[in-house]
Subunit: 223 residues, 2 copies
DNA sequence: TACTTTTTGTTGTATAAACAACAGAAATGT
DNA sequence: ACATTTCTGTTGTTTATACAACAAAAAGTA
């Protein structure tokens, strides 16, 4: 059984609670009926159709945001990890059903906050709530920008362009030409929305041409 | 010259100012140095690389959110219209450059609010500011959900599936099997990320097969 | 260590889409 | 009303990708 206290420092430093002092944070965690929950690999945290009224903060592990298309083809919208939030936009849009699944990729620990209850109780009056909503606004902004970047990735017309766009963006995020990606080949293909084998083929072509080098999940962009 | 007063009622009823009384709204407009600006067709309101510190609210007209890909191919991320906001996520993420263009599709009127100035002045203290940030959080949530839906649209593997997914989503939004879309063919193709002529061909095939009927921009889904 | 399962890379073939070029329709301007 | 421009639909050809089937490598298990 995981205890909240084990993660206290991490929680305190997460973007959700940025700018709060200990007192405010502790008050908030109580007000929100904060609890920690553990999931195993391949468990579903959120399902399409769920109504979300909790804030989910990943404390440990990796989670796929997925969507199953009409004929069961899987689309990976995003890969989230430590300090990321799940389905925050459905907390903001009340009574809107989730249009995504959140599926664990590894053993995962999540902090869950009962958003609804607290906001109706304190009427947004307390300082900590003001800080929180400001933070949530900023977090959602970032998510938004990343979704736009993902749209850019999948909107390239060839597999080659999708790969190069994706890898360049990753290099930029990591501030280095050499970096590790979190996707395995199948997941990357589902993220870029292409066939895995065709993508593998294109990857080795890019390597042969000297544009990139890779070994398993370590990639390097060559000038 | 357009005057703010001409749009006062519309502004009052927009999602940005939802839940405010006249006094709060007027105070806010003043505090934000609200002004109205007119754009002609094909003008660029926001450019990639801009730092955004204003809130933009469309009062009249239509605006494309676009991105130019590496070799000048155009991607349409979204088509916005009356009561929608432009680039709100870049207001939330300070000092992040816009990664999109906002381009008018017709003559357009926009309300501009100097977000930065006001928030630094009033320190989030006033009631109206609390209402505002709550509203912005909800608006951003909706945008987020729509971006995910767009990802679903463009992630279909065939033109046919993209069209059917898009048209079904539109029908659902309009609560009717018969509806009008705002895109012309080229824009729709850029939105779905396919070749226009191939898309035209697929549309008429769908019509011949009896799945849809259309005339110009009016579409009907047949069971 | 040997065995099984999962992941990744390779190839050939069928298929769908991009592209180019054009014609007709619709909209716009004079 | 006419000319001009923009938009839409159609077709043939080229090209890239999905798909299937398999081999090799890596990871996991007994």
């Amino acid at each position: 059984m995981e205890r909240l206290e084990n993660y206290y420092n991490q929680i305190k430093n997460s973007p959700v609670f940025f700018g709060m002092n200990d007192e405010e944070l502790k008050g908030l965690l109580e007000c929100f009926n904060a609890r920690v929950r553990k999931y195993e690999k391949d468990e579903i945290i959120i399902r399409q159709g769920d109504i979300i009224s909790n804030i989910y903060l990943i404390l440990k592990g990796d989670v796929n945001i997925e969507k199953d298309s009409y004929w069961g083809r899987r689309i990976i919208i995003a890969r989230l990890s430590k300090n990321d939030n799940l389905a925050l936009s459905f907390v903001g849009s009340k009574n809107v059903e989730s249009n995504i699944d959140a599926v664990t990729v590894s053993d995962t620990v999540v902090l869950i906050l009962g958003y609804e209850k607290c906001t109706s109780m304190c009427q947004n009056a307390c300082t900590r709530h003001k800080i929180l909503i400001n933070n949530l606004f900023q977090i959602l902004s970032k998510e938004n920008i990343e979704l736009i970047q993902k749209i850019e990735n999948v909107s390239q017309k060839t597999i080659r362009d999708k790969l190069l766009t994706y890898l360049s963006n990753e290099a930029q995020k990591k501030h280095s030409n050499s970096f590790e990606i979190k996707f395995n080949r199948q997941d990357l293909a589902d993220y870029l929305n292409v066939d895995r084998s065709a993508m593998s083929f294109e990857l080795s072509k890019l390597q042969k041409e000297g544009l990139i080098e890779y070994n398993k999940n370590k990639f390097e962009l060559r000038s």
